[in-house]
Every structure is written in C-alpha cells, then in structure tokens.
Symmetry: C2
Subunit: 199 residues, 2 copies
C-alpha cells in the first residue's frame, strides 16, 4: 500500500511511464510538481496538451510542424531537387545546425528494424517514394545513423528509388573532426581509408 | 533558431525545467508525449493539475494528503503518544514499509541547512512544537538522515522540546543489515561500537 495520496500516486505513475524514468526519478519529478506555484503546474499541463494537439507531421516531408507544410518545405530559398532522408526530426535539427545543407528533407520516423518488428511499412518510406515518383527530385541523400539498421534502411530505400532514375547518395563515413586516430575504432578507420581523398 | 514547432520547444523547455532533466532527456520526453494517443497525453496533463490541486499537507502532521487530516492521523489504531519526526514524505513511506512503527509522524519538509539558506523557520518545526505543547505526546523519535544537517536539525528540535518534559530519542546508528563489515566506513563502525548491545 502506498503512503501517498492517490492523486500523487497517479502522477508518479505517469512520470514513471516515460522512457528512461524509473520509480525514484518519477517520485522526484512528482514532488517537484507539487512544489511549483499552481500557475506553473497548470502551464506545464497546458504545454503537454498544446504540443500534442498542434504538432503533427508536414504533409510533404513528414517532419514535425504546427502548420500544414513545414517551414523548410514552404521556403522558396531551399533547393527543391535535393532531398535528405533522416530517421527522426532530431536529425533534421542536427543537419540544420551544421548550416551547410540547403535542400529539403524527408523524415522516416524510424528505421527498418526486424528485431523490433519495424518493417518498411511502419516508417514513412511510401511517402518518400511518392515524392520521388512525382518528379522534380534529382538527388536523394541518405543520412541515417551508420549502424546496421541505418544501412539496411538506406539500401532498401535506394533499391526502391533507383527505377525513377534519381541519384541516391549517402553521407561520408570517416574520422570525426577533432577526434584522435588513436581512439578511432577499426570499422571507422577502414571506412576512412576506403573513402580517402586526394589533397 | 530551433527547428521544432514552437509548441514542441515549449514542452521541451518545461521538461528541462524539472530537476535532473537535461536538454537531451527533455527532448526525448517531449517526443514521447507527441507519440502518445491524444487521450493519454490529456490524462498526463490532468494528473499534473489534479495532483497540484488536491494534494496538500495534513494540518496535524504536515504529511501530504488529499483530505484535511491524513490517514495516519485519523487512524484510531495508531499510537498517538509517539511521534516520529522525518524530513520528507518519502521518509514516512520508507518507515511504513518497515511495518514496525505504529505511532504518528511529523514531516518537517526539509532540514536546517545554513549553506542552502534554510533556517528553522523555513521548515515545519513550529508546528511540531505546537503539537508537543498541546500535550498527549510522550516520546518524539528523530528520524532524520544521519548527516550533519540531519543531526543539527535533530539537536535543535530536541533542545526546543526538552522544556515540555517529553522524551526525545533518535534512530540507532550501526551496520546496515546485510552489509559487510569490511566495507563499513569508520564513522559507522565507531557508532556501531558505541551502540553495542548485549546478546
């Protein structure tokens, strides 16, 4: 039997249902909510409802947006014939931080992962194929994480897109800038050697 | 400039304001909220508001409750002349799990901590003194954490209560059950030796 009032138990349970939050952390978070001014607790709750209600995926690139089409898809200055395919909206944010890419995106919302029962139909691959089929896209850049699932997904998609005569590329593998050769793993070193460039 | 819709940014900010939640975790939590069925997101928000609105402190023992007096203070089977003083509602929960104590509690909601600018008037000491002054309490058990702040608080309170002729005790220090002597720290061993008992 819990020694807390039921409303507190319920809140602890809600926090504990979040990914990576254990029972002890959930207790700490719930106690923090109780310690907030009532106005702030209400505004926290309102932020949850508002985010869930207003944020959805862009009908073109599937990135998160609060309008019909996202800011990047609407922007007239972005290069419309290059599409960078990423697994998650966080990856769009990472690419944008690099300030190097001026094309559009396509967000898959996951990668193919048989172990987790995620097949090609569970992520937004169909939407990408439809975009390419419509024409106007010259190059599709695969920017998935360099792991087995990312590579499988990239290869699967590239096979689907090839018939449309579109160029499919992927981000370069290599030594991360600022890293030390000494601590680079074998696979990375091998890829860096394969991808060596003349200077 | 963030690449997320503003409602998502706001939610990330709210999560990041929680204790022990960094920006990356806050992002993960906010994305999880977006992935919930709308009904579940609403019920999370409702749990926050409900907990903040209905949970307050018991007017007798200061423990958290959703009624005027908490279940323990209302219970006719609990021993009313012994009061166990703890720093936080979580400590009440810990004591109750031990199923050994049948008295009442008093929750201070903190300990005296000059470094954190928490003085005797910032925690619920006055309420405890008032309870003892009203009479009917025979023994007050100090159950603060065995650290400097806990001990300072216990000593301060015990000096305040002595004039009322009440017995003030504190939990025993010693080797934790199941622990190994080899790894016990010096202070604990010293306390265990001082508190040795005939068998």
């Amino acid at each position: 039997m819990s020694m807390f009032p039921s409303a507190l138990d319920e809140l602890i349970e809600k926090f504990a249902s979040l990914p990576g939050v254990g029972l002890k952390s959930a207790q700490r978070l719930a106690f923090h909510i109780l310690s907030l001014p009532e106005e702030e607790a209400r505004s926290f709750a309102a932020a949850i409802v508002k985010a869930r209600e207003t944020v959805h995926t862009c009908k073109i690139c599937q990135n998160l947006t609060d309008s019909d089409e996202c800011a990047i898809c609407r922007s007239p200055t972005r290069d419309g014939d290059v599409v960078c395919v990423v697994a998650s909206p966080k990856d769009v944010a990472a690419m944008e931080r690099a300030r190097e890419y001026n094309g559009r995106y396509h967000v898959l919302h996951g990668v193919i992962s048989p172990l987790n029962h995620i097949g090609p139909d569970d992520i937004r691959i169909r939407e990408l194929v439809d975009r390419v089929a419509e024409g106007g896209i010259r190059e599709v850049i695969m920017a998935m994480n360099p792991d087995t699932e990312g590579e499988t997904t990239a290869k699967y998609i590239s096979r689907l897109l090839k018939p449309f005569g579109v160029k499919v590329t992927r981000l370069a593998y290599g030594i991360p800038v600022g890293a030390s050769l000494e601590f680079a793993d074998d696979a990375t070193l091998m890829r860096a050697l394969e991808g060596r460039q003349e200077i």
